[in-house]
Structure formats: C-alpha cells, structure tokens
C-alpha cells in the first residue's frame, strides 16, 4: 500500500467519523423527543420515507423523477450561466469599458433575492421551466462573473507582455493567455456557483411546480411531513456533493498546474 492510498484511507475514515458523529447526534436528539417528531424525525422514519418515496413516489412522481426534473433545471441554468457569465466576466476584467456597461447591472441585481423578483420572471416567461431555469441562471451568474473578473485582474503582466511580443492579437491573448490563467479562479467560482444555484432550486420550485425535489421538500414542509422533508434534504445534500465533486475532478484533470505557475 503506497503513501497515497494510505492517506486516502485515513481521509476517508476521518470523514466517515465526522459524518457518523452527526448521525449519532441526530439520533440521540430524535430519541430524546425534545422536539416533536415532525421537526426532528428519527433516522428510521426518514429511511422509511426514503424507501416509500423511492418506490411508490410522492404525489405523482417517484423520487428519481423529482430529482431528475430538479437536476435538469439546475444543470441547465448552471451551464447556461457558465457559457455567458465566464466570458462576460473575463471581458469585464479585460476591458474597463465593457466593465462599465455591465458592472452596474450585475452588481444591482446580484443582491436581489430570487423570491422578490420571481413574480416578474413569471410575468415574462410563464410558469413552466423557462422561468425556473432563468431564475437558476440568474443565481448561478454572479459568482461566475465575479470570479472570472477577479481572476483576470490577477494575471501576471509578464504573461500578457510575452504574448504580445510573440505577436498575439487581443482576442488571442484573451483566449490563449488570459483564459487559461484564469482557470483556477474560474473553477473556484464554479464550485461556489453550483452550490448557490442548488440552494436557489427551492425558490424556483416555489411557483407552479408539481415536481422537483425542492418542491417536494416545500410541500412536505407545508403539511408537517418532517420525514419527507429530511429525506428530501438528504437527497439534495448528497446530489449537491456529487455535483461539486464532478467540478473538483474536472479541475484536477484540466488544471494540474494550479499553484505551480
């Protein structure tokens, strides 16, 4: 067993212990019944709810269908935002005139709560996926554009100077020097963004949804189904971790040179 696998093993066992501790605390709190069962349901009933909903579904959709609907919304919004926010953020960092155009707009809507402007989106885009994905897109946008913009500001001047003296044009410098230099910052932004987008999922499924894991949690909350809520929260947490891991893995593969520049 080499050093690397050994470390991975220790890492895994520490993480497991840490998660287990939380489970035990939860179990004990639930057992003590300080709070009614629908607020802090016992692990066992959450597991029951999971089995039930995974098999027979919740209000017209199986767990997988709900999750699939939600993931489709989250990932569509996120990818859309990546394609628009990252280049735009980089342009804003690269050219102060472009920044002057978009900065006030992004900065203005950024602190706005989705709940506050969702109604306006519904007016424009209706109650179907369009408005939901747009809302998630808007949530995903700022962390991406801000990280991209900051990353541009931190690119060492020599890299750009070298490229210019090698005959690269402005666009080429942008795509071949600035963009790769910014990748570490962009990946950080993507990790923050996907988490943020996911947390906005419930807001987006507040309106006119009858499917989606976020809607399920909300709906269960309305009827005090603590077991279903907890179950839904777990599923969201775990899928969130998976999405994040995917980005981390992509980061490892795409920028092995991070920190070595």
């Amino acid at each position: 067993m080499n050093k690397y696998t050994k470390r991975k093993l220790i890492e895994f066992s520490i993480s497991t212990t840490s998660v287990l501790t939380i489970f035990i605390v939860w179990y004990v709190v639930a057992e003590m019944k300080i709070f009614p069962e629908y607020f802090i349901p016992a692990p066992a009933s959450v597991w029951e709810a999971f089995k039930e909903i995974a098999l027979t579904g919740y209000r017209g959709g199986t767990l997988l269908q709900h999750l699939g609907d939600s993931l489709f919304r989250v990932i569509s919004g996120f990818i859309l935002a990546c394609f628009i926010a990252i280049p735009l953020g980089m342009f804003m960092g690269f050219n102060w005139k472009i920044k002057a155009v978009f900065d006030p707009i992004v900065e203005f809507y950024r602190p706005l709560p989705p709940l506050a402007y969702y109604t306006i989106l519904v007016i424009w885009l209706g109650i179907e996926n369009e408005s939901k994905i747009t809302l998630l897109f808007l949530a995903a946008f700022p962390p991406l554009s801000i990280s991209a913009m900051s990353a541009v500001a931190a690119v060492p001047m020599e890299r750009i100077h070298t490229a210019r003296s090698l005959g690269a044009g402005r666009l080429q410098i942008f795509t071949h020097v600035i963009f790769p230099s910014c990748l570490p910052g962009i990946f950080t932004g993507m990790r923050v963004s996907i988490g943020f987008t996911y947390t906005t999922l419930v807001s987006s499924e507040i309106v006119a949804a009858t499917s989606g894991i976020g809607w399920m949690v909300l709906d269960a909350g309305k009827f005090l189904r603590g077991d279903v809520m907890f179950m839904g929260i777990f599923v969201m947490g775990i899928t969130g971790i998976i999405l994040d891991r995917l980005i981390r893995i992509a980061e490892k593969i795409i920028i092995p040179w991070k920190g070595k520049g």
Partner: protein, 318 residues
C-alpha cells in the same frame, strides 16, 4: 423568552396574519397591551406550518392560522390549544376562472389549469369542491402558486383559474374573471374553513389569565366592528397601508363571530359540550390524509380535546 420564576412572562409573542379580521383591529388599538401588563410583541406569520414551527420552538405564544394548518397541527400533535375562531371564510376566498376559459361549472374543470397555494384553506376547498361534484382531482392540472405568482400567471394566460383570496381575488375579477364558487357555499356544505387562534400549551397552562385577556380583546374587536364597521376598517387600513374602502370591502367578505357565536354548537361549543368545530377539523385532517399530504389523522376525541372554549367563557364572564 418567558421567565419561569414570576407569575407573568417577560413578554407575550403574538403571531398574526395579513387578514383583515378582529385581531388586526385590536392590534391597532393596542387593547391587549392595555390589559396584559407585560410587553406584547407582534410577529407576522405567513402560513400554518410557520405558526406550527413557531409554537413548537416556543417562540410564539398565541397565533392564528387557517383551519387546514390547524387540522394538520392537531394531527401532528403540535402542542397547542384552540382558543378562538377569528372568522369563517365567506366571500373572501373563491374559485375564479377566466370568462373565456370555457369553464362553466365544477365539472368542466377537468383538463384545466388551476392555481392554488398548497396547504392553504383554498387548497382544501378546491379539492372539496371537486369531491362534492365527483370530479377526480387527477383530471385537473393543479399548480402550487402563491397569490402574486398566480396573478402573474393569470395575466399571461398560463392558468385558467385559481382558488384564491383577497386582494388577488378582486384583481382577477377585474381582469376577465368570474367566480365559479365562493368558499361560503362550501362552508355551508360542511367544508367549513376559517381562521383559528391557538395558544401554545405551555403558555396557556401557565398563564391562563393572559389567554383570557387576549380573548377579551378579540371579543372587544368583533363587537367594535359590528358597531362601527367604518372605524374598524379605518384601523385595518392603518395596519395594512390599504385604502379604507378596500379594507371595508375585504372585511365584509369575512364572517366575524362574536364571543357568544363561538360558544354555539356550530363552532367551539362550551366546555361541557364541545362544538362541531372538532368534527370540521377532523374532517379536514381526514381529507388531507386522503390526499396523502399528512400521514394519519387521530380520532375525533383528540380534536375535541384540542378545543378549549373555557377561555371564551371566562372572558365573557368578566
């Protein structure tokens, strides 16, 4: 935060909702504050589940919710006593449909898109109306929407109708809507809905006097409204920043019950003979179970045990 040592709590926290009923009138005049002898704090709650949470957390002492929320709360053993019925929902909630939607009666709802805030009294009423007419809810596309969003969808034509309350109801009626059925009608058919006040068990057991004083302020408010609706509407308009005429219009669509009304068998009943409200709540809970929204509903006795008309009786005696 209630101090355990003294006879009075450090303060009383009251949850209210944005409904133009007696509670708001008494809040405006500060009647409970006059008698309570402790600081009173008013917090706004937006739904039954929020109220239930606040009660369970021990941070709300007295609060109000629609009857579906209360039924769900009792079914889930949230520790509260039902102490007062604020209003019976009459014409302030209704199923509105677009004039051009082709919907003429409940039967023709099949295949149409209807928005309703899930978990609210109107949700219950929509399902009840369907059941009454023998329409399978599966055949209707029911969307979960809060009133502003429902109105937005309405304007876009994304929905054909909505079971909704004021002021959204009025706005829909203004823009090509017509009422298919009022809640009043469903209440008359046994599907009673209303806004109900509860007191946290721990609080009520420890400070019954305060509960009585609170009820007294509610009774005063209903009487005040019955005597002088204009002045009562004035108070509501102050609280909600809406025109006085609008406040009056909305209040008129509600049925406010006096103290004596509540003690009749149709509602709370008396401490010797609990009224019909228990069965109404039980029916509501059963209905929610059938919709798979709550897990199970207890026996009617549990609902009876949750009703405490004695506070009203004491308040009326004073």
């Amino acid at each position: 935060g209630q101090s355990e040592s003294s006879d009075l709590p450090g303060r009383v926290v009251i949850g209210y909702q944005a409904i133009p009923n007696g509670q708001i009138i008494s809040k405006d005049f500060g009647w409970f504050e006059e008698t309570a002898g402790v600081p009173v704090e008013w917090v706004q709650v937006n739904s039954g589940s929020e109220l239930n949470t606040g009660l369970a957390a021990g941070s709300i002492d007295i609060g109000l919710s629609g009857s579906s929320g209360i039924a769900a709360g009792i079914a889930n053993q949230v520790p509260f006593d039902v102490i007062w019925v604020h209003d019976i929902i009459g014409d302030n909630e209704a199923l509105v449909v677009k004039e051009d939607s082709g919907i003429t009666d409940i039967q023709s709802l099949a295949g149409k898109k209807i928005a309703v805030p899930f978990g609210a009294t109107t949700h219950y009423h929509l399902l009840a109306a369907l059941e009454l007419e023998g329409v399978d809810p599966e055949t209707v596309q029911i969307f979960d929407m809060q009133p502003p969003d429902a109105l937005a969808a309405w304007h876009r034509g994304d929905i054909d109708g909505s079971f909704i309350w004021e002021p959204t109801l009025a706005k829909m009626l203004e823009s090509g809507g017509e009422v298919l059925i009022y809640s009043r009608k469903l209440s008359e058919n046994g599907y009673l809905t209303g806004d109900i006040t509860v007191a946290r068990k721990g609080f009520a057991e420890k400070y019954p006097d305060l509960v009585v004083k609170y009820i007294a302020s509610e009774i005063k408010a209903v009487d005040f409204y019955n005597n002088d609706p204009e002045a009562a509407a004035e108070a509501v308009s102050r609280q909600f920043d809406i025109p006085q005429a609008e406040a009056l219009r909305q209040m008129k669509s509600l049925v406010l019950l006096t103290g004596q009304d509540q003690l009749t068998s149709a509602y709370m009943g008396t401490s010797d003979s609990i009224g019909n409200l228990a069965s109404v709540l039980k029916a509501t809970a059963d209905f929610l179970v059938s919709q798979n929204t709550i897990k199970s509903a207890p026996d009617v006795d549990v609902f009876k045990a949750a009703l405490h008309p004695e506070y009203i009786e004491q308040a009326l005696e004073q």
